[in-house]
Symmetry: C2
DNA sequence: CGGACCTTTGAGGACACTCAAATCCGGTGG
DNA sequence: CCACCGGATTTGAGTGTCCTCAAAGGTCCG
């Protein structure tokens, strides 16, 4: 794990993030001064829930889980971080530490933004807070959606709705959904057991609705059939 | 349902809300210009999920549920609004409409703040956004807690954790937890069936841990026993 | 080829749900 | 004041979905 100043290419990608794309050049300079490049290996813990917030992050590449743990070693994944995106922003303002723990599932590259200095920076540039409000609101929206799904959906509906909401792109084989590497992790995201998840995917496969490939890619041949599971009682 | 200008007493209570308590007198004047007093009967729908956001609210008195609906008439309550507090703020910034529906369970008094004009007001006074960030962050924190509870807790643990997190005050009879009027509503908040909730409360009663009164007050005689349910596997 | 880990399938069980009936409670009217 | 009604709560019986435990394939890598 090493920590460095930011290369121009990475800075450019950071500037394109929704949170920062409205920054003027001079404002962005100010932001960059608080940033460090950081590379972490797979299975590395970034921070734990409840811990005081020392930084927020922008992911350049890799795969990270935000999760909470139960007592018997059970684990609920709240969110996957898999593209270029910022995370842990909420911890800046709540004064209650990180709401979740964060751990890399793959080797990952991050930009780490010091929270104390960034907090001061934002207070000195209050006009920059608007995007932050939007970002938190959308995250909140997603959490509400997840609560709804957890409460009102059965196992098949949970899987179907995840597949439909998380596909990458389309090609001639149908929509392609890119899943976390291990079944265990997807199961922890959906609050299902590994076995139940497998069985559901097996049923979908048998119906001809989906096709699985190396357990991290799923081709959706009949997305309307999955959608149908969500629409009817 | 009537809509009026704000009485001084109500204005004072609004000014004490965390979101607005940092407002200077002149800033607060500006806010008041966007507000209307509103009284609604029990069982009145304020807004529905997905609807475009036309206002945010501050509750003066009453009881309101924020909820989502499934297809077969099932209902998941995301949050109860029961004290003086603001709600629906997040809908201001996400551009995705209200994330939840809102309906009164009792006769309620509200202050309605026009969203379009309040949005403009905030953009013209960016220094006022800081509290808003805090408020959204804390709400986000709570949602994460709720997801954790939904995913990792069994029926008894859900009830225990709700009782421990939602008591009003202490007196010689032990901690008093003030519940929503009907079992049905608490069940919908905890994602349990009415019957399961009853059975759990019955078990707690039989153990001597709690005592129920007119189904809306619960005395916690042994909060540590409830806490114990949450601490051990 | 062997081992470690992951995925898939099978059998059995548990927790919470559904359906149904009994009891409790508040309100209304005789 | 009491009897009655409707709605809410509580209790009971039976069922189903998902979980747990276990074992059988797969895949990757040394």
């Amino acid at each position: 794990m090493r920590s460095d100043t930011i290369r121009a290419e990475h800075a450019a990608r950071l500037h394109k993030a929704p949170l920062f794309s409205a920054y003027s050049d001079s404002e962005f300079e100010g932001l960059l001064a608080l940033c460090h490049y950081q590379r972490i290996a797979a299975e590395t813990t970034l921070f734990k829930a409840q811990e005081a917030c020392s930084a927020i992050y922008f992911m350049l590449s890799g795969f990270i889980e935000l999760y909470r743990e139960g007592l018997n070693g059970s684990r609920k994944i709240i969110e996957f971080i898999d593209g270029e995106q910022t995370f842990a922003e909420a911890a800046l303002f709540s004064g209650q530490g990180y709401p979740v723990s964060a751990r890399s599932l793959l080797d990952s590259e991050l930009i780490r933004i010091d929270s104390v200095r960034f907090s001061l920076f934002l207070q000195q540039h209050p006009q920059l807070n608007w995007r932050m409000l939007g970002s938190l609101s959308i995250r909140l929206h997603h959490l509400v959606e997840q609560i709804t799904s957890l409460s009102l959906h059965n196992a098949e509906q949970k899987v179907a709705s995840f597949l439909l909401e998380n596909y990458d792109d389309e090609n001639q084989d149908g929509i392609v959904s890119h899943l976390p590497g291990r079944r265990r992790d997807l199961a922890a995201r959906l609050s299902l057991s590994e076995e139940t998840l497998c069985r559901v995917l097996g049923r979908f496969r048998k119906e001809g609705w989906v096709q699985t490939k190396d357990s991290s890619r799923v081709y959706l041949h009949h997305p309307e059939a999955l959608q149908n599971l969500l629409d009817k009682a």
